[in-house]
């Protein structure tokens, strides 16, 4: 995407504000307590991690840690922190702060939902102000990425306080990230100012303002009227409503693969779906590209496994699953499903092949996906009903109690390839995530080995094999990964869309002096 110069200078300059439209407000600014996306988004401006994935989401890059050593096959991790980092209140950032955060997140009294990765560690030892070592019971590869911003908190401000109820810090945090907290008007807006002392350099854009606008149509009108500079477009807005000359002049649109996928999952306790031929037949009957085109207006990618297309963990050797209704029918016939009574619906032992796809309310794309699948399965003689359920009822009464035949649902993707919680045979208990009851000994072994291995090439081999098995067995019909589609005012320069999105280099975005619009006094 080419930026139009022409306005004279094009040099980076300090100043200007970016105003984001966002759907919901945050609840807390302490990362380990946050459970909503706005909280994480705001906190991201204020805090920083020891390390972070690079823009291709393949390797971890140094941030607050200059480097780290993986010793004894991953049993020991030693982190060397930068010496020049200060909290915005002037206090130096040291290994003691990380130790504090580590103990805090592991403390049973702390109300966090993210403790699991840290509980894998046996101990943390501070070697000097800028060096510490973590020792694990067993090597645990996903743990490396967990040393992001979650455990970086100022000990000198929080020690001895009850973090669960510490309203003051959660609302006016002191951080060390690219921006400093400025103002928070509940349910209206939130703003931060650039931190001149940021260790990676003073960010160019002076101010970030988030305006809470719960309705996407309203956000879009605000965008046109100049009330906001950036928002996430819906597929309809991206493809149909932003092609006018005004938009081409004033805005730039970006697209990148997002970190979630949608799938059709089968209850494997149901004898009909326990037959792998039936699952393969269904996967062949569904045209994934058709779903992407119809539901997402083409703004997505069909997927064949639980990894983000375009990153190193995706097994590129697996071809797209063939769309072949004829072969699907043949497979079903092989499995004993034929239309013996001539009513157009396949049957076996006198019972027609009929079932219900469940999905949750409030997610229009999933409902549309299920509807297209319904049509495609009807084409091969399977009678499908679609039922939409309110989220809590869906989870508590249907998923947790295994009262489903087929579901259309999605998973967020973590950046680490570990998939233990979703596919391991042991994870089939109440409120656990292998609710389709998938059991495969080889997968169990691979998942266990994968999370104990630090060597990237070796891990890649493990997870490639894992994807082959999933591809062969089709416990899910993996459907698609949607794309995120942000739009940003054209005066912001330096934006680069990558697998990591566009915000990965936000501190280096800038507005040339002549194009700066405003800075808002609070």
């Amino acid at each position: 995407m080419q930026n139009v110069g022409g306005e004279g200078d094009d040099q980076p300059a300090h100043g200007d504000a970016i105003v984001y439209g966002t759907i919901g407000d945050a609840s807390t600014l302490i990362p380990m307590l946050a459970s909503d996306s706005s909280s994480s988004e705001y906190a991201n401006d204020i805090f920083d991690g020891l390390l972070e994935y690079d823009k291709t989401l393949s390797t971890l890059e140094p941030r607050l840690a200059e480097k780290w050593d993986v010793e004894d096959g991953g049993l020991k991790l030693t982190f060397h922190l930068r010496h020049d980092v200060k909290w915005t209140d002037g206090q130096p950032f040291t290994a003691r702060d990380v130790e504090f955060g580590f103990n805090l997140i592991r403390d049973p009294a702390t109300l966090t939902a993210y403790a699991e990765d840290y509980k894998q560690a046996k101990s943390l030892e501070v070697l000097d102000d800028w060096t510490f070592r973590v020792v694990y019971e067993k090597p645990f590869a996903p743990a490396l990425a967990s040393w992001g911003s979650m455990v970086v908190l100022p000990r000198h401000l929080l020690e001895g306080k009850n973090i669960n109820n510490n309203i003051e810090f959660a609302q006016h945090p002191v951080g060390l990230g690219p921006y400093r907290f400025e103002n928070w008007q509940r349910n209206t807006r939130f703003s931060v100012r650039s931190n001149p002392g940021y260790y990676r350099g003073w960010p160019w854009v002076e101010q970030i303002v988030y305006r809470i606008i719960p309705d996407q149509a309203t956000q879009f009108l605000e965008l046109q009227a100049g009330g906001i500079d950036s928002m996430t477009l819906t597929p309809l807005q991206f493809t149909r409503q932003t092609s006018t000359p005004v938009f081409a002049r004033d805005f730039r649109k970006y697209r990148f693969v997002s970190n979630a996928y949608t799938y059709m999952g089968y209850n494997l306790d149901d004898p009909r779906f326990a037959d792998v031929r039936v699952r393969r037949a269904f996967s062949m009957a569904v045209n994934k590209q058709e779903i992407v085109d119809a539901v997402l207006f083409g703004l997505g990618k069909p997927c064949e496994g639980p990894y983000r297309p375009g990153t190193i963990w995706t097994n590129d050797k697996l071809p797209p699953y063939p769309f072949d209704p004829g072969k699907a029918r043949a497979l079903l016939a092989e499995a004993g499903w034929t239309d013996s009574d001539g009513d157009g619906i396949l049957d076996k032992d006198g019972k027609p092949f009929a079932f219900t796809i469940l999905t949750n309310q409030g997610n229009e794309t999933r409902l549309k996906t299920a509807t297209i699948i319904q049509k495609r399965l009807r084409d091969i003689g399977v009678d499908v009903k679609v039922r939409v359920l309110e989220w809590s009822a869906f989870i508590n009464d249907f998923i947790d109690k295994r009262r489903f035949e087929v579901i259309v649902l999605g998973w967020g993707l973590s950046l680490d390839p570990d998939q233990f919680d979703i596919w391991d045979s042991e994870k089939t208990g109440y409120k656990q995530f292998n609710f389709i009851d998938y059991k495969n000994k080889e997968v169990d072994d691979l998942l266990e080995k994968g999370r104990r291995t630090f060597d990237e090439a070796e891990r890649k081999r493990i997870y490639d094999r894992f994807q082959e098995i999933l591809y062969d067995e089709q416990p899910y019909t993996f459907l698609y990964v949607p794309e995120a589609t942000p739009i940003v005012a054209a005066r912001f320069h330096g934006i680069e869309a990558a697998p990591a999105g566009i915000s990965w280099n936000f501190p280096f975005w800038y507005v040339p002096k002549g194009q700066q619009k405003y800075v808002i006094t609070e």
Binding site: S35, T218, A393
Partner: protein, 324 residues
């Protein structure tokens, strides 16, 4: 009069108890719990985290214990702390949203009355005239138009196309740096669209009510008498008919007092106004029990007080009710 008041107020206690019990049961009967949002389908959350959270919020206790604890706090004037991660007092959240909603609804009501009463009088005085028919059609169009749609059209025209009025929110982004006059003008500008759109729907009901009430009165003997005396039509309408025709409208007003605090979810959502409707909706979706109960109890108390006020107002306006 005082004993009447005391009796009515004493009657509130069992009523409120009943309301709170029903609200609490219905709320907890709904599937899902506040913990779900934090742990459902989050592979990073272990079952132990779930148990920990349930314990913290007291959700591991039997329902009657939870209700008892809640009631005990409320009796001492404490509505509790929100289950949301911000852990703010429920009262704070309600007092933040309440003034906004009340202000919007009072303005809306004033606008409705300002138009509905003249329209009603005019329609009744010239029943079946062209003017009557045109206003009838217009107010019904207003009534039948979905307000979210009207809102979006108005926002597109006045906000995005003409750039005359702000699209959403209650204040401009540079509000703090404005002069006093600028601030007032800014607030007024932000209120025009939401208040007008909300009033559009209410106009039909109120003006039709006014019209039929006026027609009723105009058929009365004393109006005939006034006319027979040779009074001007204007005087007959204003002095003799209007006052009596307003009585039923006053009742209607009393009944709309509780409505003043219940914001409209749709309008608040579209115009990004942080009022009671949005607060209630989001806390129901998050199963934020203390906030849900707090809002419901506020609503219940104001409804009861509203009814009482309507009764008292009625007595004040209608001399016939003062005896007996």
């Amino acid at each position: 009069m005082l004993s009447y008041l005391a009796r009515r107020l004493a009657g509130f206690v069992p009523l409120l108890l009943g309301i709170s019990l029903v609200s609490f049961s219905v709320m907890t009967l709904a599937p899902g719990s506040p913990v779900d949002l934090m742990t459902d389908l989050n592979p990073k959350a272990s079952p132990e985290d779930r148990i920990k959270l349930e314990k913290f919020y007291g959700l591991d206790q039997p329902l009657y214990v939870q209700y008892g604890l809640w009631l005990g706090r409320v009796v001492h004037g404490d509505l509790g702390t929100s289950f949301s991660r911000d852990r703010r007092p429920v009262v704070d959240k309600i007092l933040e949203a309440l003034p906004i909603t009340v202000m919007l609804n009072v303005l809306e009501l004033a606008l409705v009355l300002a138009f509905a009463i003249p329209i009603g009088i005019h329609s009744a005085a010239r029943q079946y005239s062209l003017g009557d028919r045109v206003t009838t059609v217009l107010v019904f169009i207003g009534f039948a138009t979905p307000d979210f749609w009207a809102a979006l059209l108005a926002m597109t025209l006045f906000g995005a196309e003409l750039n005359l009025l702000p699209i959403s929110g209650l204040r401009s982004i540079d509000y703090p740096s404005m002069s006093l006059l600028g601030k007032i003008a800014d607030s007024v500008k932000h209120l025009i669209l939401p208040v007008t759109i909300a009033a559009l729907g209410g106009l039909a009901g109120m003006s039709r009510y006014m019209r039929s009430s006026m027609l009723e009165v105009l058929r009365q003997d004393y109006v005939q008498t006034a006319r027979a005396k040779g009074l001007e039509e204007r005087v007959v309408l204003r002095r003799h008919a209007l006052r009596n025709a307003l009585l039923p409208v006053v009742t209607l007003l009393g009944l709309s007092i509780p409505g003043l605090i219940g914001g409209s979810v749709i309008a608040e959502q579209i115009f990004s106004i942080p009022g009671m409707g949005r607060l209630f909706f989001s806390s129901v979706m998050a199963r934020d029990y203390p906030v849900v109960m707090g809002v419901l109890m506020f609503g219940a108390i104001l409804t009861l007080l509203g009814n009482l006020a309507a009764d008292l107002l009625y007595v004040a306006v209608d001399p016939r009710l003062r005896k007996g």
